[in-house]
Symmetry: C2
Subunit: 345 residues, 2 copies
DNA sequence: ACTATATCCGTTAACGCACACGGAACGGAG
DNA sequence: CTCCGTTCCGTGTGCGTTAACGGATATAGT
């Protein structure tokens, strides 16, 4: 019963035409003060809510959303956001949304610049991106702002007020959580290591914050445990394995190693005999999952990259199509994955 | 460029009218074989996707979704699903969705029956419910099935094939996870307790499965740890606290207590001096959160009741309005909450 | 040859909203 | 008085889809 009120009914009650009602709804003027007030009053009483389907049909808009991500292979980190984007694409197609994917080579800044230029050339209405190449991304985002193209950042939580939203995990808290997991019920006097295997070029902001959080956990809570040292090493270092092994041997009473990015599988490669310490890492790459399952890795913190990307696209559409503002910052839960939980991913 | 193809264009290409194309799309017959094939071919080539807004406008349907939940106070478990329902209500109002909430008294089966009858009387198109009163719910769901009213269950994962979907956590795996958390790095020979404080009447299925999972973890993995005993006790037992205390004292080498429902705050009440064992519980009630923050509770497993309800409503709408079938079973991640993570909830 | 019936298809009026266009009423300037 | 501008408002068309309705043609039955 009591179907939803429409513009027509409001017009009838106010003794005006639907054109007038429409004008006050979009307050585009040319309506006398009294009728404006009257119409607004009636709308409130009837709790009028415009019919989204009718509105969008009348506006008959099409949206082009660009997704700017690094190239990748299957099983790698970025394939999860990619899956999400594809899913969102089929889900939103019937709403007039077209998603275009732009992939760049992480190690080639020019390819980033080229792709970001294409995004503008091809007149996209909004952008979803991950801030991997920090400086280049900044320039890109500035350009977006200048052209008033809304964008959403995934993979990190920033106070970027010109972004429509940033979606990610709190890296600092993630580091603290890692501290908690790694020190939990360890003997007094145990020491811990941070091993940061980098992909050369990028001094990842998330990683920095994770390390800060990790350290802060120990200085706050844990007078009996110590973060002895941290090793920063390039993935392409020819002596990578050997250097890691040395570091492990040198460390006395080693209780655990924190790998603040997705490279914990490389650390495991360096292990020779039985693992005698705990390993806490990040991200459910295929390789990491296998090692978690073999108990070579103890905890993985999942950033939920699929959800990040899917929600990002969804927010962009809701902004463009339904004028709904997303939260400035979306903080996904820190998802601790253990061997027991693994089968659900 | 290349706007989305419409029925009209397809009709023109096939030299027929839009009526014919429409008949093919909804295969409601009265079209010759050849033209059917031709039209289908053209639709495939153009990758035609019907415009959801136009479709829903033409159909001009309104949906009434009923939500059937127990009464509750603020800060209690059910206030989270309730918040989600209210949010979904405002989000979906403009799509012609009306959500009606039916609350019953958990301890009064008649109130459940009364409310469920109202749901049918008031001609709702779909139902979201939590299976708290098991038998009564079964009858209700059977009636739904008979009247072909789709329903979604939240709070438990069932193989209820007549449900449109069931959304929840895998309780068995939750129990195993609890086992992992509670035994992690404990000394050999440590013993564990299960304390199940019940709300009298309902022999909760989830709780049973959690306990089974908990036990199975120890029989599978943990030859040095033992689940000594389990105490099942009514919340209304006048000697509740005393009985719990006795059980705790009796247990030698107690390493931890597993509370397989949201009542861990009651267990904490029974503690007199410093807590010397680990506590793993469920659900982020206000009381539990405070105790987690004070380190009286070590881990809480969050069932994500808000997300369960929101997704449930969303799935129902997408089914009714967009003919999208949800997954039969939606398993939300086991969300481990520690003191560090607490600030995000 | 004529009607009855089946088969196939086109026309059309909604659905609720957005927006362009034009028009009525009025006042003031010439 | 006419002419013009301003203020306020109604009308009409179109967005893409649905589905009722009825029209045209062919086929069968008498």
């Amino acid at each position: 019963m009591s179907k939803k009120p429409t513009i027509k009914e409001i017009a009838k009650l106010a003794n005006v035409s639907i054109g007038t009602v429409d004008r006050v709804i979009h307050n585009r003027g040319d309506v006398s003060k009294e009728t404006t007030i009257l119409i607004k009053k009636i709308m409130n009483e009837l709790k009028y809510v415009p019919n989204t389907h009718a509105r969008n049909l009348a506006l008959n808009r099409n949206f082009k959303i660009a997704v700017l991500l690094p190239e990748h292979k299957n099983g790698e980190y970025w394939s999860e956001p990619m899956r999400a984007v594809q899913q969102a694409n089929t889900d939103l197609k019937s709403f007039g949304v077209e998603i275009k994917i732009y992939l760049y080579n992480q190690k080639n800044k020019n390819s980033f610049i080229k792709e970001s230029r294409r995004i503008f050339d091809e007149k996209n209405d909004a952008v979803l991106l991950a801030q991997v190449l920090i400086e280049e991304s900044k320039i890109f985002m500035d350009t977006c702002k200048r052209k008033s193209i809304p964008y959403i950042l995934i993979g990190s939580i920033k106070n970027d007020i010109s972004a429509l939203s940033t979606i990610g995990q709190n890296s600092y808290q993630g580091g603290r959580l890692a501290g908690e997991l790694i020190s939990f019920n360890q003997k007094k006097g145990t020491n811990f290591l941070i091993i940061h295997i980098t992909k050369a070029q990028n001094p990842n902001l998330n990683v920095k914050e994770r390390i800060m959080g990790f350290n802060s956990f120990f200085s706050d809570n844990n007078e009996f445990h110590y973060v002895i040292d941290s090793l920063i090493i390039s993935e392409e270092d020819p002596d990578l394995i050997k250097k890691i092994q040395n570091k492990l041997i040198q460390t006395e009473k080693l209780g655990g190693v924190f790998v603040p990015n997705s490279k914990s599988h490389i650390l495991v490669k360096a292990l020779e005999s039985k693992k005698l310490f705990r390993i806490v890492g990040y991200d459910l790459l295929d390789k990491n999952k296998q090692l978690l399952n073999k108990k070579k890795i103890d905890f993985l913190i999942n950033q939920r990259p699929y959800e990040q990307a899917y929600e990002g696209i969804d927010y962009l559409y809701k902004y463009l199509g339904l004028q709904q503002l997303p939260p400035q910052i979306v903080s996904l839960p820190l998802d601790i994955v253990t061997k027991e939980k693994l089968m659900y991913y």
